[in-house]
Structures are given as C-alpha cells and as structure tokens.
Subunit: 194 residues, 2 copies
Amino acid sequence: MIEEDRLEICFCGSGGQGIITAAIVLAEAAGVYDGKYVCQTQSYGPEARGGNCKAEVVISNREIDYPKASHPVFLLAMNQASCDTYFSDLKPTGLLIVDATLVKKIPTGRVVAIPFTQIARQQIGREVVGNMVALGAVGYLCQAVSPESLEEAVAARVPAGTEDINLRALRAGIEAAKKFDLDTLPELTMEEDE
Amino acid sequence: MIEEDRLEICFCGSGGQGIITAAIVLAEAAGVYDGKYVCQTQSYGPEARGGNCKAEVVISNREIDYPKASHPVFLLAMNQASCDTYFSDLKPTGLLIVDATLVKKIPTGRVVAIPFTQIARQQIGREVVGNMVALGAVGYLCQAVSPESLEEAVAARVPAGTEDINLRALRAGIEAAKKFDLDTLPELTMEEDE
C-alpha cells in the first residue's frame, strides 16, 4: 500500500535493540528483492550516546527526491522513550506499532501492540531477535514488500549461522500481526490540523 | 578535517562486501562516540539486485540539513564497477581510496590504493573483513573520528564473537593508510569546472 507513491516508515527504540538492522532489511527487501526505489537513513546527534535510535525507510515506485521520512505512515516504537518522542511525527491517518513488552503508555487507540521482545524470548529463546519479530509485523502491515522478499533479505543480512532463528522470529511477527483487523481501529491517531 | 563544517564520505562496492556496515560503523563512531552530527544513507533502485552498492555518511559539527553526500570529499571504491560509476561524484579536491586487490583501472593519481581484500585474507585470514580494513583506512584518512571511537563502534556493531578479527582488520587498515603521504599526491582528481 504505497499512498501517493511514497511510503514512509519509521523505526525507533533504544540503541542495541537492532532498530537499524530491521530498517536495512526492510529496505533491502523492497529495493533489492522487490525492485522498488528505496532510501534508508539514520541520523545521530550528540544526544545519541545511550539514547534513542531512529531509522527511516522511504519506499516508492519512482525515484525518491527527498530521502527522509518526516511524516511516516507507520511508526514502530520499540521502547517508551522513543514512542513518547516520535509519536507526534506520525501522520494522523498513520498506524502506531509498539512493542507491548516495553511500551505501556500508548498515546492512541490506532495502534497494533504486540509483545515483540516477549515473543522473541518465549517462542525463539533469544530476546535479541525481537527486532526481527517486529520487522515481520511491520512488513506484513505495511503491505509494501512480499513475505518472500523479506525472508530473502533477512537471510542475506543477518550473521551467518543465525539465519534460522532470525527467520523464525520474522515469521512469528508476521503471524502475530495477522491477528489484528485494522478496520476495527479508530481512523485517526490524533486530531488532524484544521 | 571537516571543511565548510560538512564532510561527505561515500562508500561503494558490490553487494556482500560489507559496504553498508562499514558506513554505519563510521557514522556511529562519529555520532555516538565522538558526539558529532551525522546522517547515514543508502539508496536502492530496481538496478540494485546483484549490482553495486553505495552508502553515504555526512558528518558535521552542526545539525545537518541535507542528508545526502552528493559531492564527497572521500570516495571509497571497493570494486572496479563502482569506481567507474561513482568517481565523477568526487569533489575535484577530494581523495579516491580504492581496494587495489579489485580496482586495477584507477582514474586519477590522487588516490590511496591499498589491497584491502588481500590484507584481510593474508593478515587476518578472513576475506570477509576487507570492509573493516577499508574502514580503518578511511577513518584514519578522513580525520573526522578518533581511533578509539572507531574501535568502540566496531566492537558494538559486529556480530558477537567476531569483535577480535574485526578490530584486527580495522587496525591493519589504519596501519596501511599511515604509510601514505597525502602531500605528495597531485592536488586535484580532475579538472575543476570553469
């Protein structure tokens, strides 16, 4: 679902949660394996040390003029602080996706809340693949990449020998996201500007 | 050495050479550990499958308005095709850095040619860390990050258990780059536009 021929997705969380890797895998799935135009960005400032981490992916059917995701349609927040910080960037018609293990104060009803970290720990046995569980959910919900491309991109990007647990994590995230019916959610995350 | 308060560095090569990882580590060294403002970008188009791969890093002492490296001061080319494609982006006063193992046709005398892949194979025993050898050279030559920050960023980003070979590769790249005296190089890579 690429509205206006430009889909902006933002991944945020704390350093060490694998946010950048998840964004790169989505970008490679769309760009390398699905043949879309993609731009993937991350920025760091003096506040980056020990703090929040944000990575952006822009996917389009045409060449991309501006590479930043200033008003994402999908915002993944993997911890409370980044949810608090970046929620206001989300388009009013966008969708918030949170790690329900770590984000307890959710600022909208237009949300898909899935315990990514808990699923990684309990179903896969490795909390470190929580990012791949989240990627599975984001990839499924954004409808911009095929599951096959996501799997190819995961297998090509993760460290050799960890393909299996990463792919299992990805699929667990896809399955968890399938249980949500977006049509039952409120239409807006916040009041639109008048 | 951040000229005009904005240093643009471009990494290119073929997919699988670890170009994006090298760019991310440089970005994290400068942004997270050295407290600079950094933006790191990669783009993919329909031509990305099996082809060249390019990643960009912009480092500044101030907030960065435009995140792309349209005219890099340092261009690392890890294979011949990407050297041929991206050399013309380099600033005339910029510096070309190539993997001499794989780039045989070098379009300028203003070049630092180091056999990154061969060093990785012969000194480290793992060709796959050629990207870290190259990163060591680029990090040393661009003077925008401290060696300590580079080491911290490498250790934090590479897969657990591979820190040692990656750090050895980084240091081998730094040592190789130290042998070059940039003052003896021609001042321009190409004719400046009149």
